[in-house]
């Protein structure tokens, strides 16, 4: 596959000084899990893809912290990821990659590069107490103090960028307040981009997907942090003798909605279809073999299957190359797009 300079540049620039080129440049710390997906009875009307018409489809997942730091900081405020691979009945796979932030920072790859450059982690600063008082008198909430071991952070640059670019404000504002979930199983995740699904009657719909945890969404109390390493343990504990489930909700876009712009989430009043249930029954064990397997996986948001196709969202399209290039760069198990061949659709 041919990688555009832009895709390569973005991936290269994403790498943080405290990250590793052996690991993912973002969503660096994570843990695998497995389970199965069962479509709802109405799902085939909306999407004829294999996993929506087959009673049960096996799935492999990886949950992650959004940060590109290779040091684990589960209790820091951060976006989390949930990458799902469905193993379809014909032996092929399809991926559905989601994160806890409901929208993205940029409308185009070019803008995302600008954002990436602007939000390069910089040395963290303590805001002086005098400045904080000044801010409070201006009814501006002061930036929280850095975490005890925090040395570099993208926040300052991201906020500066958002102050100049309306389109990135919602994502930056919500990311700044996102916090830490009590468990990977207690967060809602969003696929953010628009996809086009085709129903059994061949009708196409422009849609957006969300995973909703049936256990409920719950965040940690930031004033009483549970420590840097708890998410993987809790996932293993929970799945050791329970299952945990997510509902797949699909919003249907309407006239006037942003189909190709993932900085604009759709309001919660769109028609919502219950598409199915994901049941997780295994967490990756704490072994090198399991770790190697899941950490070498390469997901790709463009790994789709007949019945689901990408919208025109340019960010979604560049992610195809970016993920494939990143996978090769870190020497991971290739995804079908990172095989080296020119297999562009």
């Amino acid at each position: 596959m041919h990688y555009s300079d832009l895709a390569k540049r973005i991936v290269d620039e994403l790498l943080r000084p405290d990250g590793s080129d052996k690991l993912r440049p973002v969503h660096t710390i994570g843990i695998g899990a497995t389970g199965y997906f069962e479509p709802s009875e109405v799902a085939p009307q909306y999407c004829k893809a294999d996993h929506f018409i087959t009673p049960r489809t096996k799935a492999t997942l990886r949950f992650s912290n959004g940060s590109g730091s290779k040091t684990q900081h589960d209790d820091w405020s951060d976006v989390r990821g949930m990458a799902t691979r469905f193993h379809l009945s014909d032996g092929t796979d399809t991926d559905l990659i989601m994160m806890t932030l409901p929208e993205f920072f940029a409308r185009t790859p070019e803008e995302f590069l600008e954002f990436t450059l602007a939000a390069k982690p910089t040395e963290v600063h303590w805001v002086s107490p005098w400045k904080k008082i000044w801010q409070m008198l201006h009814l501006i909430p002061p930036q929280p103090d850095p975490y005890p071991d925090e040395e570099i952070s993208p926040n300052e640059g991201a906020i500066k960028f958002a102050n100049e670019n309306r389109y990135s404000q919602l994502a930056v504002f919500q990311a700044a307040a996102i916090g830490a979930p009590v468990s990977y199983l207690r967060a809602a995740y969003h696929a953010v981009h628009t996809f086009v699904v085709t129903g059994e009657d061949e009708v196409e719909r422009w849609v957006r997907f969300t995973w909703q945890p049936i256990d409920g969404v719950k965040n940690e109390n930031p004033l009483d942090p549970p420590g840097a390493d708890y998410l993987q343990g809790r996932l293993r504990d929970r799945l050791a003798d329970h299952t945990s489930r997510f509902t797949l909700m699909m919003q249907i876009g309407e006239v006037g909605d942003a189909f190709d712009d993932s900085t604009k989430p759709w309001p919660p009043h769109r028609q919502r279809v219950m598409m199915g249930t994901l049941t997780l029954d295994h967490a990756a064990e704490d072994t090198k073999a399991q770790d190697d397997y899941f950490e070498k996986l390469s997901f790709n948001p463009m790994l789709l299957t007949p019945g689901i196709r990408a919208s025109e969202d340019p960010v979604l399209h560049i992610r195809k190359e970016a993920y494939a290039y990143s996978s090769g760069k870190r020497d991971a198990t290739p995804c079908p797009f990172s095989g080296g061949a020119e297999d562009d659709q």
Binding site: H138, N163, R270
Partner: protein, 238 residues
């Protein structure tokens, strides 16, 4: 990195929870900003948008101050509703676009809370046409509304009045507040960006201009369907 976590820093961090600072904020800082950066009152009700699901199951939160908030006055308001149940129910059926509607007496207000489909003005106008007399009975209990009786002769004025007493509905996405405030001031909504960390202040100041509001558009279990569609699907006629 030097440890800046001094005693002073910790004290400053705790200011928002300290009594004296709260008093200072409440009586000096906030009033100062209200004076310095006043926000126009934002209009009530759902905002115009093209999506069908924004045009069905819309909320009305009509808050009408009682002329006489004593138990006597409240009883009069209660009677005005109770004596007109037939009018209201058959009126709602014939307007055809209402999912639910109810009256509350809350604080010193009579409130009409409803979920309706379609355009707000059409809804109120159709309503006046069917049950104008009930509106007359109701608003005769309301402060500053007598001059619109009979409502069927003050259609335009009454629609505007209701709009004005319908609660502002906060946007579903927080940063959209910037654009709403800009629009209310007649500024372009795609002009230079605001500093995002001023959003909390803008919210505080907006809550001064609109002390009561509806927090977002609310949850719907089956959004995007009209009352008639639901009735049709259940086979109970529309």
């Amino acid at each position: 990195m030097t440890n800046k976590d001094t005693w002073f820093n910790r004290y400053v961090n705790s200011l928002p929870t300290r009594g004296w600072f709260k008093l200072l904020s409440r009586y000096v800082v906030v009033p100062y900003w209200i004076w310095r950066d006043p926000k126009p009152k934002l209009p009530g009700g759902p905002r115009e948008s093209p999506q069908p699901s924004e045009n069905t199951q819309r909320m009305m939160n009509l808050i009408m101050p009682l002329k006489d908030p004593s138990p006597m006055g409240r009883a009069m308001a209660a009677m005005a509703i109770a004596q007109n149940v037939d009018e209201i129910f058959s009126g709602l059926d014939n307007v055809g676009t209402v999912h639910t509607a109810r009256f509350l007496i809350l604080g010193d207000n009579l409130c009409m809370i409803s979920v309706y489909d379609g355009d707000f003005s059409n809804y109120i106008r159709d309503f006046i046409e069917t049950i104008g007399s009930v509106f007359d009975a109701v608003i005769s209990q309301i402060k500053g509304a007598e001059h619109m009786i009979p409502t069927c002769d003050h259609v335009e004025e009454f629609i505007e009045w209701v709009h004005d007493h319908d609660l502002f509905q906060a946007p579903d996405f927080p940063t959209d507040l910037f654009a709403l405030q800009d629009a209310a001031k007649g500024l372009p909504t795609d002009g230079p960006a605001h500093e995002i960390m001023t959003l909390p202040r803008d919210l505080i100041l907006q809550l001064h201009a609109n002390p009561n509001l509806s927090l977002g558009g609310g949850y719907r279990s089956y959004p995007g369907y009209s009352a008639a569609q639901v009735r049709d699907k259940f086979g109970v006629g529309w």
